[in-house]
């Protein structure tokens, strides 16, 4: 768990560095394009804009976010259950202070956390969430938010989003200045070489001004998706009950069509599920959250086992194999039982039960395991329901029952 957080911190540094590089490059190129030799001034302006915005975000970010989202702070008397659930998760995570608790008066189902460190944290949930979820589900959601706080995700995401904001702002100002004003001065010396160099810079600046915001968004959203997975894992570790969050996400996904009016593209990554889904703004690289079904699947597949970071990671790996999981009637073809190679000492019932639902002949991993089974003298029976029953050599009863459709076969 702690190693994961540390590893994540290192990756975060790379991401911030990439963003910073993009910002300075943009400043330099725009500066050079405006006037030869003004590159450093451009960098200074870009960094200046970023610095001011960062300072504001660092000290006032939480309050601004709460105000923008239309959240109002509540006291314990207003909603004792919510308060208790938050306090429970604070104790489970070993945080030293109970975060401020806010409610957003919206029928949408969502939640987010803010604050630069655990001492300045705040958690906001929508009124819809409180009415639709039961206590266990609410606990899963709050645990996810508290994990964000403990992992310092909020500080990092604020830093990145401010950089993104600066990049977008500088690009906009430059592009608008280009089209509406006459800010680009001809170079004073009329020598050919310098004029050409400026032209090259101008083209570079144009390209960068158009591309940088997109690139920055891709970096920002990639970081956000990773952190959602980690916060899910953290929630499972805190509650030791992944099913709570899994079923909560199910309810949230089912209600995704209810829009959260106060959310926008900049605040979207902070929420537990993408609040903009209702307006259809999330696809691939530009999606702020991993697909909810994917998150549910990972949580469910760890529900039976030991609740720890490694077990979440292996569950994650199971759902992201080199061969992309194929879906048939919404049932994942890859499941926990299948990825474990059988051993000949396994008890008969255990091996029969591990027979894989929904046989698919194209699955190379399964074929490989079947070859191993053949080598151990396993027998195979193709059930009428499509299931391939695998019978270990030490199975000594005369008949076998299909674990899926319950039809009986002779061995």
């Amino acid at each position: 768990m702690w190693e994961q957080i540390r590893l994540n911190k290192r990756r975060s540094v790379y991401l911030v560095a990439a963003m910073a590089l993009l910002l300075t490059a943009l400043g330099f190129v725009i500066g050079e394009a405006s006037e030869p030799g003004a590159g450093p001034i451009g960098v200074a302006i870009a960094v200046g804009v970023w610095l001011i915005m960062t300072l504001i975000a660092y000290f006032q970010g939480g309050n601004i976010l709460m105000a923008v989202s239309g959240a109002r702070r509540i006291k314990k008397e207003d909603n004792p259950v919510l308060f208790n659930v938050v306090e429970e998760m604070v104790i489970a995570s070993g945080m030293s202070r109970v975060p401020d608790i806010y409610i957003i008066d919206s029928p949408a189902l969502n939640a987010f956390a803010t604050g630069r460190d655990p001492e300045h944290a705040a958690v906001a949930v929508t009124a819809g969430l409180l009415t639709q979820l039961n206590r266990d589900q609410l606990q899963g959601v709050i645990a996810h938010e508290i994990s964000h706080v403990v992992h310092r995700d909020i500080l990092f995401m604020t830093l990145l989003s401010v950089m993104l904001g600066s990049i977008v702002m500088i690009s906009e100002v430059f592009l608008r200045g280009l089209f509406y004003g006459r800010r680009i001065r001809r170079s004073r010396s009329s020598s050919r070489g310098e004029g050409q160099a400026q032209l090259v810079m101008l083209i570079l600046a144009l390209v960068l001004a158009i591309l940088a915001p997109l690139l920055a968004q891709i970096i920002y959203f990639a970081a956000s998706r990773r952190r959602e997975y980690l916060a899910d894992a953290g929630a499972a570790v805190l509650t030791r009950y992944p099913e709570g969050l899994a079923s909560a996400l199910e309810v949230l996904a089912a209600n995704a069509y209810v829009p959260l009016e106060t959310a926008n593209r900049a605040t979207a990554p902070l929420f537990i599920v993408n609040p903009l889904q209702a307006s259809g703004l999330s696809l691939g690289l530009f999606s702020t959250h991993p697909p909810t079904e994917e998150r549910i699947k990972i949580l469910r597949s760890m529900a039976g086992g030991v609740t720890s970071m490694p077990s979440y990671l292996s569950a994650w790996a199971r759902s992201n194999p080199a061969v992309k999981p194929q879906y048939t009637n919404g049932t994942p073809l890859f499941n926990a039982a299948q990825t474990r190679a059988p051993s000949p000492q396994m008890s008969p019932s255990a091996t029969v039960a591990s027979a894989v639902p929904l046989a698919s002949p194209r699955n190379p991993a399964r074929e490989a395991f079947d070859t191993v089974r053949k080598a151990y003298n396993y027998k195979f029976i193709d059930c009428s329901c499509g299931l391939k029953i695998k019978i270990p050599p030490n199975y000594n009863r005369p008949t076998v029952t299909c674990p899926r459709c319950k039809s009986v076969y002779k061995v």
Partner: protein
């Protein structure tokens, strides 16, 4: 040459000293975190003890004739408050949990009581406090595990031996069902 060697030795000594300081401090931090976690358990246990008289009074208002259960709970609470030592304490707390379970069973039989706002609020507080006890124990165990892992792994084990750090005991639950008890919902 000799002077260079001297510098190298000094440099190594400084690095070693700094490492020792760093590792020692990390052990102190983990020990204090675990101790703090342990005292958090006590805070929550005390909170549960404080809530019980209120709950008993509320139930009494509706179910006067269940004297036996009230006495049981009161006695178990007194025992739990007096218990000394980890083993005795956890045993007394388990008995108290069982007595409270009986009180809840009694409450089930009185629909008026079950509908009373006061009772529901107390019930939520008590259930949450029990959750908090469980989570505080969980965090204590996590902290103890982090410390113990550090104590056993190289190179912190050398520092630990040098300064006499002791591994912490884990909090164990005898009854596997005991852990599930708090999450029972009476709403």
């Amino acid at each position: 040459m000799l002077i260079n060697l001297f510098y190298v030795i000094i440099l190594i000594a400084v690095v070693v000293a700094l490492t020792v300081v760093f590792l020692y401090n990390s052990l102190i931090r983990l020990t204090n975190q675990a101790k703090n976690a342990w005292s958090n358990i006590d805070v929550q246990l005390r909170r549960r003890h404080d809530l019980i008289p209120n709950l008993v009074e509320t139930v009494k208002g509706y179910a006067k004739h269940e004297r036996e259960v009230f006495e049981q709970v009161t006695k178990a609470r007194a025992n739990a408050m007096q218990a000394q030592g980890i083993a005795a304490q956890s045993q007394a707390e388990n008995l108290l949990t069982r007595a409270l379970g009986q009180l809840r069973v009694v409450a089930e039989a009185y629909p008026d009581l079950k509908a009373s706002q006061n009772f529901l609020a107390l019930q939520e507080e008590l259930a949450s406090t029990e959750n908090k006890i469980a989570f505080a124990r969980q965090f204590y165990n996590d902290s103890a595990m982090r410390l113990n892992t550090k104590l056993q792994s190289f190179p912190t084990n050398i520092i630990a031996q040098l300064f006499g750090f002791q591994p912490l005991e884990y909090f164990q639950i005898e009854d596997a069902n005991a852990r599930n008890a708090p999450s029972t919902n009476f709403g």
